[in-house]
Amino acid sequence: MKGEPKELRFTVNGKLHELQVKPKALLSDVLRKDLKLTGTKRGCLESTCGVCTVILDGKAVRSCSILALQANGHQVTTIEGLAQGDKLHPIQEAFINHGAVECGFCIPGRVMMAKALLDENPDPSREEVRLAMQGILCADSGYVKQIEAVEIAAGKMRGGE
């Protein structure tokens, strides 16, 4: 039957969820509405701005551009899953301390993209950081502090200063 809900079984931030979702539901809808994880933002809804970016099986993806059911059996990490209790992730700290946070709307997607980048490549070049940031639009910051914050976080994560 068209639109009949199907079972979605997937892990979000380490927790297993079992839901019934309509086939046309987007991953971002399920995260925000069903799981109340509103940290992942709803932006353009047309795959252009990237603020809905989450990590799926270690890779950064746009959650508005994935059918929720495609996440069946997969692991998703959202911004809410980054900090360990009160302890912030080095990327989150770098963004705060380096003044890379402005209105904040692109930040959850951007931080998740940065995490995916640094998990895969702990010592990215400036070019590689730019390429990663290219997928998430900002309207305010000029991107400079954000690029620098990712580099600072990379240094910290490598065991640097």
Partner: protein
């Protein structure tokens, strides 16, 4: 007492050296950064309420049409639909940015004036049903011929967008200072050019969103992405005939605004509030980027004809401009946007004669309104590019010609007055130009032309200004409340709205600095019109200067109450005491002190019923020198003015015309005193890149008879990270007496300098002048080809 205080502030007061401040002038993290990086910060679209319905809008498929009939019966019958409304439900209410310009309806009733204008709305149990119901609403239109740019609009016999606005004129100004004809006659070189600035999106990534509900028949609450919540509160109060005290606008975190739509109302705001009333349940409407890019406010496209006369050594004798702009379907803020195209032309250079004629036309396009660099950027672009054109003819270096014309920084206690009666206590533009040129090694870069294969490089300079602490006619009241709790923690309540520019953090820092306590001790209450004092909102770069002033005054008031108690305790006069590092002490005998917490407890428990609440307002919101006169263009519309000089290097692919900014990029910015230097840096860099370089190289709405041809963020190119120059920011400190702690606005100045700097750099690299923005590759390519064939 209060009057004396105001008088004291007029003179350049004792300004502490930065080392003497505890918080101000040093880097400090934003107070809301943690909430944003963890995802806890809630934006309007994140807000959920029990029993909440989703709203959707029915939009017109015509750019200009009469509405003959609306039939909502089928929509009402769809299961899951809880309310359907049309424009008629608003009882003839019209609204506008000012009392004289109320020409827009919450939802159109008799006529639609731009494509996708809202005519009806539905609330239903989910988004899908709401949209399906909209499709079931049947609307009969009579299509009308329309006008789609100012040149069509101004033609004799052109269709009228508003029947009562002849000639489709939205607003016009004619100002005349000095004697431009005499100035031209005395000039060595006179030149006239026409420039064009593009129709642009505001570019914020968070589309407008609202959740509205009624707690009873006469009490309305909305959570909305509003940059100036008090505009909404007044408009909703008028719309629903409610006392202001019953209208509650609560501000969530806001994903930027830039002076645009979130400063103002959209169809969705009225729809959500009326639907909520009708359905008796909360209603949420969230726009998509498609809605934003097709219906929300744009930056005016403008056609600027500028005629300038200079002496043989490049000094300005006279400037005359004619500005034509496309205001779109409704008046909105066009009177102010267009006024500003002329208002700043007497800055940042010395100008003895200035004349302007400004015309803004109605068209059947979505309305135009403010955007960062409001009005000023258009004519600054024209002026600073033409200055380079003329400098080249005279054989004068672009940095040199600007230094020759720059307004000099007035001596302390003195004011510089322009021919249009703007007053400056500080003007750091000369130092900005010098420092920028030095930082980028201007002389070296200009000496040798750099070419690498098919890539040519060039540098360009521009200088600019922007008003700070906008003072407008009408309601300017701006206040703050500082409430000291019995345990020494502090609540700050301000109506000022942080749209991402960091004002919340600045207000907290100003409070903590004034009270002599730590930033962490301040808890800011975000705007909630039920509790926070009124504030005009976030526009015109007014928040730091004016809301900042109110905040400092409120903190001073609270401090005064505490020091009166402490002074009594120590047997001295209150002015003999100070509070610093959470200790109140006698200035000449610091060993006589009391901790902040003890003092507060003492104050709270000493007199029965005493509460320590500091109240402060901005006095500068009311013009010190006389209200701005829009019709003559005279008077200060800013409390003070920031100054910027920008130098940008570009790389041009000579075979394709593609232009890229390189990392050789510097902005020297005079914001009086940077209250939080890293925050100023980001704002300055972002101000230059997004709206500035965006206009110069990338951004442009393409229109086809009212239809937006590129309504998505890939076809409408918003500037991205890969192409962003790693710009260096230099602070020029002038310590303005009219701003809190010497501060002026930060970063709208750089929105005005980026485009001319890039275009001047493009000329330096290639010899071509691009006068119509953006300088897309194809445009540059044909210009290069033409230049080669002319040789």
């Amino acid at each position: 007492m209060a009057k004396k205080k105001v008088k004291k502030e007029e003179k350049p007061g004792v300004i502490l050296k930065p080392e003497e401040y505890s918080i101000i002038g040093k880097p400090f993290p934003r107070v809301d950064a943690r909430a944003k990086v963890t995802g806890e910060a809630k934006f309007a679209a994140d807000i959920e309420m029990p029993d909440m319905l989703w709203g959707a809008l029915k939009r017109s498929p015509y750019a200009h049409a009469r509405i003959l009939h609306i039939d909502t019966a089928k929509a009402e019958r769809l299961p899951g639909v809880k309310a359907v409304i049309t424009g008629k439900d608003f009882g003839g209410f019209k609204w506008g940015w000012s009392r004289e310009t109320r020409d827009e309806e919450p939802l159109a009733t008799t006529k639609v004036r731009y494509l996708y204008e809202g005519v009806a709305a539905v609330a239903a149990i989910d988004e899908d049903i709401a949209q399906e119901a909209c499709e079931l609403i049947e609307v009969e239109y009579e299509s009308l011929p329309g006008v789609f740019d100012p040149f069509e609009a101004m033609e004799e016999g052109a269709p009228l967008v508003h029947d009562d606005r002849l000639g489709n004129i939205c607003v016009e100004y004619h100002w005349d200072f000095g004697d431009v004809e005499k100035g031209f006659a005395e000039s060595y070189l006179v030149q006239e050019d026409t420039f064009q600035t593009p129709r642009m999106a505001k570019g914020y990534i968070e589309p407008p969103a609202i959740v509205a509900y009624w707690t009873d028949a006469t009490h309305l609450t909305v959570h909305a992405a509003k940059g100036s919540p008090y505009f909404s509160y007044r408009i909703l109060s008028n719309c629903f005939q409610l006392p202001l005290s019953n209208v509650r606008v609560i501000q969530p975190f806001i994903g930027s605004d830039f002076g645009g739509t979130k400063n103002d109302m959209v169809n969705g705001d009225f729809a959500a509030t009326m639907l909520a009333k009708t359905a008796g349940k909360p209603v949420k409407i969230v726009y998509t980027q498609f809605d934003e890019l097709t219906t929300c406010l744009r930056r005016h496209p403008m056609w600027i004809t500028i005629k300038t006369g200079v002496t043989q050594d490049g000094k300005l004798k006279a400037i005359q401009t004619k500005v034509i702009s496309d205001g779109g379907a409704y008046t909105r803020m066009s009177p102010l946007s267009n006024y500003l195209t002329g208002a700043c032309m007497t800055l940042p250079y010395q100008l003895p004669n200035f004349k302007t004629d400004i015309y803004c036309y109605f068209t059947n396009n979505p309305s135009s309104a403010a955007m960062r660099g409001h009005g000023v950027y258009h004519t600054r672009f024209a002026g600073d590019v033409q200055m380079d054109m003329m400098a080249e003819k005279l054989g004068i270096d672009p940095v040199e010609i600007r230094l020759r014309n720059a307004i000099k920084n007035p001596k302390p206690g003195k004011l510089y007055e322009t021919i249009s009666k703007l007053h400056l206590a500080t003007c750091g533009v000369e130092e900005c130009i010098e420092k920028a040129a030095e930082a980028i090694n201007w002389k070296e870069k200009k000496k040798k032309k750099r070419v690498e294969g098919f890539k040519a490089y060039g540098v360009g300079v521009a200088a600019g200004t922007f008003l700070s602490g906008a003072k407008l006619s009408g309601h300017n009241a701006c206040a703050a409340i500082v409430r000291i709790c019995e345990d020494g923690s502090v609540n700050l309540m301000t109506g000022a709205t942080d749209v991402g520019q960091g004002s919340d953090s600045i207000m907290c820092a100003l409070t903590a600095e004034t009270l002599g306590i730590r930033l962490e001790d301040i808890d800011l209450k975000r705007v909630d019109t039920a509790h926070t004092p009124v504030d005009p909102g976030t526009y015109g770069s007014r928040v730091t200067v004016l809301a900042g002033e109110a905040t400092v005054n409120a903190a001073k008031d609270a401090k005064r109450q505490l020091l009166e108690i402490a002074a009594k305790e120590f047997g001295v006069k209150p002015e003999e005491m100070e509070i610093k590092n959470k200790k109140a002490f006698v200035k000449t005998k610091p060993e006589m002190n009391i901790s902040w917490e003890r003092l507060v407890r003492m104050a709270c428990y000493t007199t029965p019923g005493m509460v320590v609440i500091g109240k402060g307002q901005s006095t500068r919101g009311i013009s010190v020198y006389g209200l701005t006169d829009f019709s003559s263009g005279t008077g200060d519309f800013g409390t003070n003015y920031s100054f910027t000089a920008q130098i940008q290097e570009v790389e041009v692919d000579m075979e394709t015309g593609l232009v890229r900014c390189t990392d050789n990029s510097v902005i020297a910015h005079d914001c009086g005193f940077p209250l939080n230097p890293p925050a100023v840096d980001t704002q300055v860099v972002g101000g230059a890149y997004h709206p500035g370089v965006g206009a110069a190289l990338y951004c442009e709405f393409k229109m086809d008879k009212g239809l937006t041809v590129n309504p998505n963020l890939v076809d409408y190119k918003l500037p991205r990270a890969y192409e962003a120059p790693m710009t260096e920011v230099i602070h020029v400190i002038t310590n303005d007496p009219f701003g809190p702690f010497g501060a002026k606005e930060a970063s709208e100045g750089s929105t005005c300098t980026a485009a001319p700097a890039v275009i001047n750099a493009l000329h330096d690299a290639t010899g071509i002048w691009i006068k119509e923005l953006p300088a897309k590759p194809e445009k540059v390519y044909w210009a290069l080809k033409e230049k080669r064939s002319n040789k």
